[in-house]
């Protein structure tokens, strides 16, 4: 199920770790980047690839908040609402996005295009408030910046 390129990466990584179990997180990341989420089928595949029981893989997937075991919206907007961000107005930013998208934090839009969630500190306290979409950080947010961002993703 992994692409040839990723399969080669796995073989390279095996040299870096003494056990195959250590490859669980790297392989799950590869699957998620390839497929968008980690299905039960993918977990079984990872288990066979690494010779690790499915139950262990499931345990890992459900422990880490960034690993998704179901399909998420096309754009997953995560707004940090931890202390440094609240102090600089992330509450208003979140409200504004909720209004714009017509969903509240924790929901997925009907067309599956958007998913919005409150997130914990992502290390952007000096450029608060912030939100993240995938690996991309959007920092020092203002209402205008948020509007522009949503418009560009529509």
């Amino acid at each position: 199920m992994l692409s040839e390129e990723n399969k080669n990466k796995v073989e390279e990584l095996r040299k870096r770790y003494p056990t195959s179990q250590a490859l669980v997180l790297p392989v799950l990341w590869m699957i998620q980047e390839q497929e968008g989420y980690i299905s039960e089928e993918s977990m079984k595949y990872a288990g066979i690839l690494l010779d690790i029981p499915f139950s262990h893989i499931l345990g890992v997937v459900t422990f880490y908040s960034m690993l998704q075991n179901e399909a998420v919206g096309k754009h997953h907007i995560e707004v940090c609402t931890n202390v440094s961000c609240i102090l600089r107005g992330s509450g208003k930013i979140l409200e504004h996005i909720e209004k714009r998208l017509g969903i509240t934090a924790g929901e997925i839009s009907k067309d599956k295009k958007w998913i919005l969630s409150e997130a914990e500190c992502m290390g952007s306290c000096g450029t608060a408030p912030m939100l993240a979409i995938g690996d991309e950080y959007y920092e020092s947010l203002t209402m205008e910046k948020v509007d522009k961002l949503i418009d560009s993703l529509q």
Partner: protein, 433 residues
């Protein structure tokens, strides 16, 4: 859209060494042209024990929050081990208010790589993992590029710089778990399991990754190593505060005009950091409260900041701690109950769930604090909250329990009036629950 190290030359005579003012320093050629990897060369000409001794004498203390002496930690590693030894560099950086490691990775990644190599040489380690928090996808790519360049330049891998020293560095990406910044949970995460902290003893130097001797150091700690080797322990130990010397990356966030990361010697007055380095409070408001080193350090009142300095000893004397030096400033209009409820929510979400006290206690504290926030608490709730916090503290496998209890305890102790005010305004009569 990332941060640039702030231009603060006018404030200090300190010449930055961790985040120096050099354009494109993240490129290996620029780094080498600026005396990069000279410290590695110097270290490889020393005996491993001499390197550890140098770090010991420098009095470098860990920058991840615990302030443990780094040289001492290194000396715990067994010398003649028949098992492989490992180094983990902790770049999990998830403590609210902390955003320093990403600056090192963005602006000076080769300093981190050089420090990792020297640490490996000193402890005779051939495998190092840099554990990065999953959210830092962009920074992982930057660091990977720097590591690849170092491999191409013969600085990582087999027979480094023509010596018999060989070591490999691999980035291990986390996946969104605050607890994995705890050293034993970090090791379980690298081993491919759930990030559960381990009971200690045995300590990592005896029984770490895969049961082998392991040392875990923070990104900033490791980045200090080349500086010590370059300039000597004597020079280093004279920077800043006597018992906690060296350059320190201080982060300031919250209600300040100029938030950011500032490199300064340890021991700078906290008020000066807030007012001068970070540009003071917007609207010239007063300071109500400050977390001096991330959200799990004990909160300080705005009127008790005079004389407190940004070093381990001074903050300990003020009944708090330097933590990760991530200062969170709250102005006089801040609703501290909302702040502490949000912090409690964070620890409740991030508790790994192994220990009953932490798993149950953090959610109780969160729920009670939500009652305060919603004007539904009564006077007994203050004691109940303190009681729960006291029963978490010191009774859990790892320090997350303490980290959850300390801000709540210190908030009740230092700001009782905030809780009492909420009770007076409560809409719920006594004994309704």
């Amino acid at each position: 859209m990332s941060l640039q190290p702030a231009n603060t030359e006018k404030l200090t005579t300190w010449k930055r060494v961790i985040l120096p003012d050099v354009l494109d320093l993240h490129k290996i050629d620029v780094y080498r042209a600026n005396d990069g990897y000279i410290a590695l060369k110097k270290a490889l000409e020393m005996k491993p024990d001499e390197v550890i001794d140098e770090v010991k004498k420098s009095d470098l203390r860990g920058r991840g929050g615990a302030c443990f002496p780094t040289g001492l930690k290194w000396s715990f590693m067994p010398k003649n081990s028949d098992k492989p030894k490992y180094l983990c560099v902790n770049g999990d950086e998830s403590e609210p208010g902390t955003f320093k490691d990403r600056q090192i990775i963005e602006f000076n990644p080769h300093l981190l790589i050089e420090g990792t190599l020297i640490a490996c040489y000193a402890m005779e380690i051939t495998t190092a993992y840099i554990y990065m928090r999953g959210e830092y996808g962009k920074w992982i790519k930057m660091l990977q590029k720097a590591i690849d360049d170092a491999y191409t330049n013969g600085l990582i891998g087999e027979k480094i710089l023509g010596t018999n020293f060989s070591t490999h560095i691999t980035i291990h990406r986390g996946a969104g778990a605050y607890i994995c910044g705890e050293e034993s949970a970090l090791m379980n995460s690298i081993e491919g399991g759930r990030g559960y902290p381990r009971v200690r003893p045995p300590f990592p130097a005896q029984f770490g990754l895969w049961g082998c001797p392991t040392t875990i150091n923070n990104v900033e700690t490791i980045s200090n190593i080349p500086i010590i080797i370059d300039n000597g322990w004597k020079w280093y130990s004279q920077i800043g505060a006597v018992k906690h010397p060296g350059p320190l990356l201080v982060g300031v966030s919250g209600h300040v005009n100029n938030p950011g990361i500032f490199e300064m010697p340890t021991g700078e007055p906290l008020l000066e950091v807030i007012h001068k380095w970070a540009g003071g409070i917007p609207g010239n408001k007063g300071i109500k409260a400050v977390f001096p080193g991330g959200s799990s350090t004990m909160i300080l009142r705005g009127d008790q900041l005079e004389g407190i300095r940004m070093d381990a000893e001074s903050l300990k004397a003020a009944d708090s701690s330097v933590g990760t030096a991530g200062i969170i400033v709250m102005d006089s209009d801040t609703d501290l109950i909302q702040v502490i409820a949000r912090i409690a929510e964070f620890y409740y979400r991030e508790s790994c769930g192994q220990c009953t006290q932490c798993r149950e206690g953090t959610i109780w504290m969160y729920k009670i604090l939500k009652r305060f926030e919603h004007f539904e608490a009564n006077l007994e709730d203050i004691n109940l909250l303190m009681d729960i916090a006291n029963n978490i503290e010191g009774n859990t496998i790892c320090a997350l329990g303490d980290a959850a209890a300390l801000p709540v305890q210190s908030m009740i102790k230092r700001f009782p009036e905030e809780f009492e005010k909420r009770v007076r305004q409560s809409r719920v009569p006594l004994g309704v629950y």
